[in-house]
Every structure is written in structure tokens, then in C-alpha cells.
């Protein structure tokens, strides 16, 4: 156990935000979960009691007849904002006094940093470079993430859960978002920051970064396993596999949707459902491809003269 190495990684100034992000996220997930749980209990209670549902104020916080429904922004909101501004300023001041911003040697194109890491918030994408070619990991994927985020309000047809925390009313959408945000984004950043060492090799926390370590990894392409040799056959094979994934996967999504999310499916138009299918399958393709690589050393699935996937 190389504690010094671990400390060096955790205390590198630019890694401190990620060290801070973990407990922050844990705290806010807890805060959200607690409210979602309370709301879900209230919903369950009200759904079982129609008379109460008509009279209840529908919130978990107490409310009595005669209480003001609204409060003045001045001072009830402004004092919170003022306090928040002061607290943030104090945190920032203390942080800035105790920890210096990193400054390395002058830029030198002839001396490559090893590992050369992107800023921490892009490390998830850099981690994806292990499993995908740069045009996917660096261009297509970020674009898909942005577009995917932007279409969320237009493909989520579930009218429930607007303006309050809940889990039971939005299991699918919240589950998908948690998967995308926590597993595919934050966890990848954590791996990229704390696990990846020289040569972008995997070093467990506490393992010494060995700059001379070599890994003799023989990666194969999926067509090789099936003994396909000609370029044309490889291209056709890959197209069939990728196309088949989207077709079969799409069918599976449909089959699951109409069974377990019948109401949501009924509300969706064809375009809404197709986009959901495509984005969902593309998102799931990331861990699948990672699994192929980690478990069976498979590099490419689809090989063409112009691009490889």
C-alpha cells in the first residue's frame, strides 16, 4: 500500500474538487432521497384515501388553515441568498488561502506529461478513449450527451413528479438519469482521476505509479473471433452486429415499455419513442462495449476502411 502515492493523487490541487464532489453528491442524493421517500409515502396514503386526497394540501410540510400561503421575498428569500453568498465567499477565501492553484513548469511541447490528463470534468470522456476511437469518445459522444440532455423534456411524457421529489412515480427517468450521471459521468471521472496512471494504465488506489510498467494486452476484433478475414466481410459483419444490436435492443425496449410502462408508452408519439429507444440503447452500449473490452479483450466490433466502432 503506497500511502504517499494515494496522498499525492488526492491532494493534487486540481483533484481536490473531485475529492470534494464525492461527499457533496452523497449529501445531496441523501437529501433528495429523504424527501422523495416522504413524498412517496404521502402519495401512497392519499391514493388509498380519496376523501383525504381532496382536502389535503399535498405536501409533507405542515400547513394549517389561516397560514399565509406566500411569504415576502424581502426578507424571507433575500436573507437566505445573502447568507449563501457569505458562506460561499468564506469557503472560497479559506480554500484560496490554504491551497494554491497548480502551476507546473512552462509549457513544453517536447516534454510530454505522463499521464497527460484533460481537466477533471472531461476525464469521463478521456476514460472513454480506452474503449472507443476519438471520433466517438471525443466528438460523437459529447454531442449525443448534449442533444440527449436537451431532448429530455420532450421525450419524458410522464406528467407526474413535476415540482417535487419522488421515486415511485418516476422510477425509469430517475433511474436512467442516475445511471448516466453517477455511473457514466461521475464514476468515469473518478476512475480517470484516481485510478489512471502513467500510460493511462489501471492503478488501484494505493498502488505505486510505475512509469515503466508494460502490459502485454492482445486485443482482438470481434470479426477475428468468428474467423472473418476479408475487409468486405468484416464491414458487413460489423454492420449486421451493430444494426442487430439496435434492432433487437429496440425490440426489447419496446417489449419492456409496453409491459412495465404502459401508461408512459401510450402517451408517447412514434418520434418520442424512437428517440428514447435510440438514446437509451446508445447509452447502454457504453458499458456493453467496456465489458467486451475488459472481459474478452475485444477492441472493435465493426471495422471498415473509414471508421471503426
Amino acid at each position: 500500500m503506497d500511502w504517499r502515492q494515494l496522498w499525492e493523487i488526492c491532494s493534487a490541487p486540481d483533484n481536490v474538487p473531485i475529492v470534494g464532489l464525492i461527499p457533496l453528491l452523497a449529501f445531496y442524493i441523501y437529501l433528495a432521497w429523504r424527501q422523495a421517500h416522504a413524498n412517496d409515502e404521502l402519495i401512497e396514503q392519499l391514493e388509498g384515501d380519496a376523501a383525504l386526497a381532496k382536502t389535503h394540501h399535498r405536501k409533507t410540510w405542515p400547513f394549517k388553515a389561516g397560514w399565509q400561503k406566500e411569504v415576502h421575498v424581502w426578507p424571507f428569500l433575500l436573507r437566505i441568498e445573502f447568507l449563501a453568498a457569505i458562506i460561499v465567499t468564506i469557503i472560497l477565501m479559506v480554500w484560496s488561502i490554504t491551497l494554491n492553484a497548480p502551476l507546473e513548469e512552462p509549457a513544453n511541447p517536447n516534454l510530454t506529461m505522463n499521464p497527460a490528463k484533460a481537466p477533471w470534468y472531461f476525464l469521463g470522456l478521456q476514460e472513454m478513449l480506452v474503449y472507443f476511437d476519438p471520433w466517438i469518445a471525443g466528438v460523437v459522444m459529447p454531442t449525443m450527451i448534449i442533444i440527449g440532455l436537451m431532448v429530455i423534456p420532450y421525450i419524458d411524457t410522464n406528467p407526474l413528479g413535476s415540482g417535487y421529489y419522488t421515486w415511485k412515480q418516476r422510477k425509469f427517468s430517475i433511474g436512467t438519469f442516475l445511471f448516466g450521471f453517477i455511473i457514466l459521468w461521475v464514476a468515469m471521472i473518478i476512475i480517470g482521476t484516481f485510478i489512471r496512471g502513467p500510460g493511462w494504465q489501471w492503478f488501484w488506489p494505493g498502488q505505486t505509479w510505475d512509469h515503466n510498467r508494460l502490459i502485454y494486452e492482445v486485443n482482438r476484433d470481434l470479426p477475428d473471433i468468428f474467423g472473418i478475414t476479408s475487409n468486405l466481410a468484416k464491414a458487413v459483419f460489423g454492420a449486421v452486429v451493430v444494426g442487430g444490436y439496435y434492432l433487437l435492443g429496440g425490440f426489447l425496449v419496446y417489449s419492456l415499455f409496453r409491459r412495465y410502462m404502459a401508461k408512459d408508452f401510450k402517451r408517447m408519439s412514434l418520434v418520442q419513442f424512437s428517440i428514447t429507444q435510440f438514446l437509451l440503447l446508445t447509452m447502454v452500449a457504453l458499458p456493453l462495449k467496456m465489458g467486451l473490452r475488459l472481459l474478452w479483450h475485444i477492441k472493435y466490433v465493426w471495422i471498415t476502411p473509414w471508421f471503426n466502432i
Binding site: 474538487p17 470534494g20 411569504v71 421575498v73 502551476l103 511541447p109 484533460a118 413535476s162 415540482g163 438519469f177
Partner: protein, 310 residues
């Protein structure tokens, strides 16, 4: 002679000395009384013209004045006068949107101060940072604050988006504002990324090299991307060249980064922020905490073409 009785002297005109005497006498009365008035007036400064010209309403603790305090102030009028009693609950909002905006203001402030000491050129940039760290009074804390506020802002934006998602606040009628928010997320990351290169050290240089190398692989538009070379892309005319102003991260990249960081993106982000805040109000204020909705109520179409057709 009639002239001798004339109080105005021989020629019927007042002498200069007499006038002065008269004025002094008048002054002895006027000034103390005015001074007294002035002192009386200062006891209640809210009645002075200067004060009333700045503050257009009284400050007695009445509901009307509380509302006016918000509505008649250019910085506060983003807020409504009154909000739902539960909307102030921190457990619901997490305050991350506001904190992000506050950090943006801190970043603008510290950033402008940093610009006084920084030249975006290969010869000067790194030395300027050294100078800032070792010679400029408070230079080190200035740079630290800018750096850490930037990181905090990225975290703030993520947590804000996370909260908005978990509370379903992107749902009707806030779909468009969610989109503005996604764009703001992208611009926040780009702001941070363009700033990364500016110290011109190994960390920034290689981070930006790694980052922009991806642009090489852009499909169609990058020289290493799918179909790029078929469309005539080379390292000297592809999208990466456009980003860096060259085929490597060098002086032009530093200048471009600087201009995007200090002028281009802040302007675009500010405009988007204006739209974002405006739409928060126009879409009905913050989304909640709203009353919970029961599944049985969700299936009743309330508005829209479907309801009209039924």
C-alpha cells in the same frame, strides 16, 4: 435739503458700506435659521431630496414597502414580490442556481483583475503568472480564488442540473428553459476549459492538447476523423486548425483561448443567463415544492389539443 433726510444718502442711492452692513445683519438671521433647519433635516435623512431621488419608497415595515423593496430595485426585481412559503426551503432548491450565478460574478470580478496583469503571448504569459504569484500584492489569492471558484462553478452547475432533474422541473412548461440550462452547462465547461490553457504551463498545455486532439477525429471535419481525408481535410485546414489557429497548441491557440475565455464565451453565457432567469419568472417561478400529483389525476388531459378534441 431734502437730500439729507433721504436714508439713501446724498444722491438718493445706497452706499456700498451700508449695503454690506445690511447684508451682514441679514446673514446673522438667515444662516443660523437655515443651519437649524439643516440640522433638523439631517435628523431624518430619508426626507432629503438626495435620498428620495435614490430610494423611491419608504422603508416602514409594511407589506407594500417590502414588495416595493424588491420590485423597485434593478438587481432584486428578478424576484417576484412574494413566493410560495415552501419555495424558500433549502432542502428543495439546494440554492445551486443562485450559487452558480454568484460564482460567475466572483469569477468576472477576479478575472478582470487578473487581466490587468496578464499578456496573452507565449513570451509573457507564464512569466505574468509567476509575477502574479510572487510580486503582485494579493496576486496569489486572486489567482487561487479564480481557479477554485471556476471549479466550484462547474460543480454548482452539475448539482443544479441534478436537482432540476430530480424534481421534474424540466417538465411542462419549463422545457425550453431546461435547454437554455444545458447550453449554459456547456458554456460553463468551455469557459473553464479555455481558461485552463492561459497559465501556459505544462498542465494547461497538455490538457488542452489532449482535449483539442479529439477535434482531429471529428467526422467529416477533422483530418483523422471518418471521411475527413476524403473531404480534403489536412492538419492545416480542419476544425482543429480553426480552434487552435494553427496545427499545434501555440501562440495563436493561447490568444484564441484568451479571447474566447475573457470576451466571447462570457458574453454569450451572460445573454443566455439573462434568458434563463427571465424564463424562470415567465414560466411561473421556481417549480416547487409543488403539491404531489396522484397517478389517477395524471391521465386526465387538462389542456392542449387533445383536451380540445375530446
Amino acid at each position: 435739503m431734502a437730500d439729507e433726510n433721504n436714508p439713501n444718502g446724498k444722491n438718493g442711492k445706497v452706499g456700498l458700506v451700508d449695503r454690506v452692513k445690511e447684508d451682514i445683519q441679514a446673514m446673522r438671521v438667515d444662516f443660523p435659521s437655515k443651519a437649524k433647519e439643516q440640522i433638523e433635516g439631517l435628523k431624518d435623512p430619508t426626507k432629503t431630496q438626495v435620498y428620495t431621488s435614490i430610494f423611491r419608497h419608504k422603508h416602514d415595515d409594511t407589506p407594500r414597502n417590502r414588495a416595493l423593496g424588491v420590485l423597485s430595485n434593478v438587481f432584486l426585481h428578478l424576484h417576484p414580490a412574494k413566493i410560495n412559503r415552501d419555495a424558500v426551503r433549502y432542502s428543495y432548491t439546494w440554492g445551486m442556481g443562485g450559487i452558480t450565478f454568484f460564482l460567475f460574478i466572483i469569477l468576472t470580478y477576479t478575472g478582470v483583475l487578473l487581466m490587468f496583469y496578464y499578456h496573452p503571448s507565449k513570451v509573457q504569459a507564464f512569466r505574468d503568472v509567476l509575477y502574479l504569484e510572487h510580486d503582485v500584492p494579493f496576486g496569489k489569492i486572486l489567482r487561487n480564488m479564480h481557479r477554485w471558484a471556476a471549479h466550484l462553478m462547474v460543480i454548482g452547475v452539475w448539482l443544479h442540473m441534478f436537482r432540476v432533474f430530480l424534481t421534474g422541473s424540466y417538465k411542462k412548461p419549463r422545457e425550453f428553459n431546461w435547454n437554455i440550462g444545458v447550453l449554459l452547462l456547456v458554456f460553463t465547461l468551455l469557459l473553464s476549459f479555455t481558461g485552463y490553457l492561459l497559465p501556459d504551463d505544462q498542465l494547461g498545455f497538455w490538457a488542452v492538447t489532449v482535449g483539442t486532439n479529439m477535434a482531429r477525429a471529428t467526422p467529416l471535419l477533422g483530418h483523422e476523423g471518418p471521411f475527413g481525408s476524403m473531404l480534403g481535410m489536412t492538419p492545416y485546414n480542419d476544425v482543429r486548425f480553426g480552434l487552435l489557429g494553427g496545427s499545434i497548441v501555440d501562440a495563436n491557440a493561447l490568444l484564441r483561448s484568451y479571447i474566447w475565455h475573457c470576451i466571447g464565451i462570457p458574453i454569450v453565457a451572460s445573454i443566455l443567463m439573462i434568458v434563463h432567469f427571465w424564463r424562470v419568472r415567465k414560466d411561473g417561478g421556481i417549480s416547487g415544492p409543488g403539491p404531489v400529483m396522484l397517478a389517477a389525476e395524471a391521465d386526465k388531459p387538462r389542456r392542449g389539443p387533445k383536451a380540445a378534441g375530446e
